[in-house]
């Protein structure tokens, strides 16, 4: 089993770093790597370095619960995430890499009238955008998820749900490696263990990065950092409407497959899916207190365990293998921030919060297009930083809820 798994690894190529590139991407998470990949594959731009403080995908990309879905509530978000979902569906074919992409369907359970109102609206908005999401009654929920306790442990009765049929999961580090492999084999440099500590400037223009091991010059710098984005933006003298909060997750040991759907509840703010290895992968809401700590929290584990097993009682006797946390950059309107920053030579992709894994292909593709052409693609135009100045938030908090 392990050998089979390893046989499907794609090679990552490592290069001796240069001191200047056309494009320097700060942050070797999914967004940084996919941007590099699309620069190389779609635009032939390969004089690119991805500079990562730790190892690639050491941030949220390697810590997330891997849910890919497009059942958002505002058209701009639905369009963007659905495009990303489709890119994901074609990623194995495109790259030849095994990312363990599995279409599962996302059952988003409501326990109150207000919760049902949200799900009904979501279904209609999704359908209007051509996205396959249907409304379920309690009996349908039981049919799709036979393990569910419709009484919600006698406390959170299931009134119904929305079912987003094409929702999927994919192995997180495999996704990062697919892009890393595709980019590095085309000549992109991946530079690990190299913190970016400052920006090089020429007048008002950003012309490279300062790193712990010396400066690297660049035609364009893209910040694709996660967790510490406020600090990196501050290097460009930008104050972002972003706060960083820890988000926890945990997995059980491996079991035979048996939970087909991704199951989520907004009121309980928790969700679960079964990984390709058979673990139950469980997450919930981010910590309300902003922090840069990635230490696990038992309080989070306890409440997540309680909530998810109120919904799916078979989980109660399952043992927890591992818990961890990531750092989520939460923007003021719970939507991403992508594109130009107002500082010449410095672009940004951030605000990925608890929802940015699903966006890795479309986010990278769009940022690559912006870098290559100098024009912001329509798909991401609503998500520019300047929307806050124009008071045109992309508020979709209820959809961000369960990743």
């Amino acid at each position: 089993m392990v050998s089979e798994h390893i046989a499907s690894l794609q090679p990552i190529a490592w290069h001796e770093p240069r001191d200047s590139y056309d494009v320097v991407i700060i942050g070797g998470g999914g967004h940084g790597l996919s941007t590099a990949y699309y620069l190389a594959t779609r635009h032939g731009i390969t004089n690119v370095a991805v500079v990562e403080v730790d190892y690639i995908a050491s941030g949220n990309t390697g810590r997330n619960t891997t849910i890919i879905r497009s059942n958002y509530a505002i058209p701009e978000a639905i369009r963007f995430y659905d495009h990303s979902r489709q890119l994901y569906a074609g990623l194995e074919a495109e790259t030849g890499a095994a990312i363990f992409h599995r279409v599962k369907g996302h059952v988003w359970i409501a326990h109150t009238e207000m919760g049902m109102r949200t799900e009904r609206g979501r279904v209609l908005m999704n359908q209007a955008m051509g996205v396959d999401t249907e409304l379920l009654g309690p009996a349908d929920v039981k049919r799709l998820v036979p393990q569910v306790d419709l009484t919600g442990a006698g406390r959170y009765a299931v009134l119904g749900a929305s079912h987003h049929v094409p929702a999927a999961t994919a192995r997180h580090d495999r996704v990062a490696w697919a892009f890393a492999s595709g980019a590095s084999s085309r000549g992109v440099h991946l530079i690990q263990h190299r913190p970016v500590t400052g920006l090089l400037r020429d007048g008002d223009r950003v012309v490279g990065v300062e790193t712990a091991a010396g400066p690297i010059r660049a035609g364009v710098v893209l910040s694709a950092v996660g967790g510490w984005v406020s600090q990196v933006a501050a290097m460009a003298r930008i104050r972002l409407p972003v706060r960083t909060h820890p988000l926890h997750a945990f997995v059980t040991n491996d079991f035979e497959q048996g939970l087909d759907k991704i199951v989520a509840s907004t009121e309980l703010a928790c969700y679960v899916s079964q990984t390709e290895r058979g673990q139950m992968l469980i997450g919930a809401e981010f910590d309300s207190q902003p922090s840069f700590s990635r230490l696990s929290s038992f309080d989070a584990l306890r409440s997540y365990a309680y909530k998810i097993s109120a919904l799916l009682p078979f989980l109660r006797s399952m043992r927890i293998l591992r818990t961890w946390a990531g750092l989520c950059d939460i923007s003021a309107d719970f939507s991403p921030i992508m594109g130009e920053t107002g500082v010449d030579g410095f672009l940004i992709t951030t605000g990925w919060g608890t929802w940015g894994f699903k966006a890795i292909p479309a986010g990278g593709e769009a940022m690559a297009e912006l870098i290559a052409t100098g024009r912001t693609p329509g798909l991401i135009a609503p998500f520019g930083l300047d929307r806050f100045r124009h008071d045109l938030a992309m508020a979709d908090q209820a959809s961000a809820g369960t990743r």
Partner: protein, 736 residues
């Protein structure tokens, strides 16, 4: 090896077969006693370190059987060979025993110093702390206290025979000692291999190990027969191989730090001592065979992943799975580090981090004694149930959604009289010499000109000029006001007010009355008749408020209207609530009084075009977007949000919340709103109601494209933008 134990203590059942065990046996030892292995091979440590004795015990899979005492009736099921356990199946009858995790006790304790591990380094840590007069707690897995994790605080979570143990300590000392290094060579996954320590334990328990061969660093591989070790092959200095037949192989490859807890405890106040913290020589680099027994990763696998570029310990771990299993790298990490050192001809990489759980717990154990979401009840809860209400949770409270027939409830309001429980509204009393100043700064409307006995509707804005909440400002006296807020927004609004008042250093007292006062909204054209019967002779004018006794209950009577009909909110102490409600129901019987739930209320307000913050608004909703600029007095010099509003007022704005109407049934709330020209989605419906009175579909919703349309498509039908209020636009009825 099948001798019956010396002293039979009872039987456990393994894969459906009863086996006997001796006093003091763990499940693993009892199984080894029968000549079998508890798992599916691999070297046993019997110290809780490796993952080779995992099995399902009493319905819980992945249990280290060496850490569980055998008890009569213990049911053990081996995990499927080469496979994984099935998902647990719920016995639905168990679920009547609520709530989650409630059967598991949680004990909480505190100590100056908590020492994990009672070996010699642990004992000296205990003694040192004791002699310094500190209160010490010692946790040792051998006494049944299995530490799950160390958390910031610092704190420890452990499982012990009594349930779960949550420990808070000023200082935590990890003294977990060392583990015996597991073999990593061909055949190391066979049964019948034990560590030297395990062999000692088994011998002490009187287990017959048959023909035993001891082997150390000269180990080359194991040979086996039917899954069990049959011989040990060693290599001498001169590279000659020697094969020694055996029934049990006892392995002594030296020790490595038992550092899973040390590797996860970056928390402040945590230190590691003794062998747990000491570097030990790494084993020779593995050349062949299984390296990670939990995941089955072999040396070939490491090689293959490395060759593909996964050349960082962290990448290698994730690519090869070595270290991802239940023992958290306890078994494989020394081998993998040694292998990398050999591969790179460099120093071994630093160990990877470990994360809880060091010893696993079930979700039920994690969830033991968890309580989240305390839902509130109003004093009228039982009244609602008696009246057949369907209760729903809304804004953290249980509230009546309807009493069986929302339309009949609606008509009672429009044509007769009706009562609604609005006890959940936020209520603050503020008083003090600076109170007017404070409220003028907080609210976007004028406050100073509200006369005692009068009130005003107000929005609450944040610094960005976005609507946070709304409610009433009621002036009680020169320097005293009552403020109301929405049910869901009350807690936030209270913090908001207190924060600002403190920030400004103003002399204002704040008392939260949200849960101290109940409130009943009495509304409908016949309301005055009803209230007069109960003693309210001089009803206040619209937006007036008085103190009066109604049915003997002291009430703060507020005249306002959310329903569009004449309405009085009766705020009163909790202990008078049931009496007041019943008096209203009794005295209004001939008037056709009936209670209304939220569903009817939402329809009633919709006909009036009143906003519900949170349901209709987004987090960027400005008063302008709601068409509520009238509630903002930009001529005021300062209030929260003013600077932002001044700036955004100059921007083109493409968002408006407006009314729509069309024939037929109301569409579902949340429906997309499309352009009639090109079908593009230009907004969404936030409120929708088939008006029984106006006999058409009325809607409130957002337009998010300019120029704003006059006609739109909703639910495949054409709807027209319609000024609100839809009903009684002049407001005669509310003022009547």
């Amino acid at each position: 090896m099948t001798d019956a134990p010396a002293e039979v203590a009872g039987r456990i059942v393994v894969d459906g077969r009863p086996i006997e065990f001796a006093d003091g046996d763990s499940v693993a030892v009892a199984i080894v006693r029968t000549g079998e292995v508890p798992g599916h091979g691999g070297c046993l440590c019997l110290a809780g370190d490796c993952g080779n004795c995992l099995a399902e015990v009493d319905g819980v899979a992945y249990v280290r059987t060496c850490q569980v005492a055998a008890r009569p009736g213990t049911v053990v099921v081996r995990h499927p060979a080469g496979g994984k356990p099935q998902l647990p199946v719920v016995d639905w009858r168990d679920l009547t025993l609520m709530p989650v995790g409630s059967k598991i006790a949680v004990r909480r304790t505190e100590a100056d110093v908590a020492v994990i591990g009672g070996g010699s380094s642990g004992q000296s840590a205990v003694e040192a702390a004791r002699s310094a007069g500190r209160d010490v707690l010692l946790l040792d897995a051998r006494d049944g206290s299995e530490v799950v994790g160390i958390y910031p605080g610092p704190s420890i979570v452990a499982r012990d025979p009594g349930g779960m143990l949550h420990v808070r300590a000023d200082e935590i000392v990890v003294a977990t000692g060392s583990v015996e290094i597991q073999p990593a060579c061909p055949g190391s996954d066979l049964g019948g291999i034990v560590t030297a320590g395990a062999a000692e334990r088994l011998e002490a328990a009187g287990v017959d190990l048959g023909r035993v061969v001891h082997v150390g660093r000269e180990l080359l591989r194991f040979e086996g027969d039917a899954g069990r070790v049959s011989a040990v092959v060693t290599v001498g200095m001169d590279a000659t191989e020697t094969t020694t037949p055996c029934e049990t192989a006892v392995v002594d490859l030296g020790r490595a730090p038992r550092d899973v807890l040390a590797r996860m405890s970056r928390a402040e106040g945590v230190s590691a001592v003794g062998p747990a913290a000491e570097d030990q020589p790494l084993p020779a680099p593995p050349r062949d065979g299984v390296v990670c027994p939990c995941m089955g990763t072999t040396v070939d696998d490491l090689e293959a992943a490395w060759d593909q570029g996964y050349t960082d310990l962290e990448l290698l771990k994730r690519a090869s799975w070595a270290g991802l299993g239940p023992c958290q790298g306890g078994a494989c990490l020394p081998h993998v580090r040694s292998w990398i050192a050999a591969r790179t001809s460099g120093p071994p990489p630093a160990p990877f981090t470990a994360r809880p759980a060091a010893r696993q717990i079930t979700l039920a154990e994690a969830a033991a004694d968890v309580a989240i979401d305390a839902f509130r009840r109003t004093p009228l809860h039982d009244e609602h149930l008696t009246l057949g209400a369907r209760m729903d949770r809304f804004g953290g409270w249980w509230r009546p959604w309807h009493y069986g027939d929302a339309v009949a409830e609606y008509w009672a309001v429009r044509e007769g009289v009706s009562v609604g429980d609005v006890s959940t509204l936020g209520k603050l009393v503020v008083s003090g010499p600076d109170v007017v100043e404070a409220l003028e700064r907080i609210y976007p409307c004028h406050v100073a000109d509200i006369k005692p006995g009068r009130s005003r509707y107000a929005l609450l804005l944040n610094e960005r000029g976005h609507v946070m909440d709304d409610g009433m400002i009621l002036r009680d006296a020169e320097t005293r006001f009552t403020l109301t807020f929405t049910s869901g927004g009350a807690a936030n609004a209270e913090m908001w007010l207190r924060d600002w008042i403190q920030t400004w250093g103003l002399r204002v007292h704040v008392m939260d009355r949200t849960m101290s006062l109940a409130a009943i909204n009495v509304t409908g054209p016949l309301v005055k008749t009803l209230l007069a019967r109960l003693g309210l002779e001089d009803a206040p004018r619209f937006l007036g408020h008085i103190r009066a006794e109604i049915a003997g209950v002291p009430c703060h009577v507020m005249r306002l209207s959310f329903t569009g009909e004449t309405a009085f909110e009766l705020h009163h102490p909790l202990d008078g609530s049931v009496a007041l409600w019943r008096a209203l129901m009794d005295a209004g019987r001939d008037l056709g009084v009936r209670p209304h739930g939220l569903q009817a209320l939402f329809g009633l307000r919709l006909e009036k075009g009143h906003v519900i913050v949170g349901m209709d608004t987004e987090l960027d909703t400005t008063p302008r977007r709601l068409g509520m600029d009238w509630a903002v007095r930009m001529e005021k010099p300062a209030f929260i949000g003013r600077a932002s509003l001044e700036r955004t007022a100059k921007l083109d704005d493409s968002r408006r919340w407006v009314g729509f109407s069309m024939d037929g049934e109301a569409p579902t709330e949340g429906s997309p709103i499309r352009s009639v020209e090109n079908g593009e989605i230009i907004g969404n419906v936030t409120g929708s109601w088939t008006s029984p009175l106006l006999r058409k579909a009325l809607m409130l919703g957002w337009q998010r494209r300019t120029p704003f349309a006059d006609r739109v498509e909703i639910d495949g039908r054409e709807a027209v933008v319609t000024p609100t209020p839809f009903y009684d636009p002049e407001g005669h009825r509310a003022r009547a």
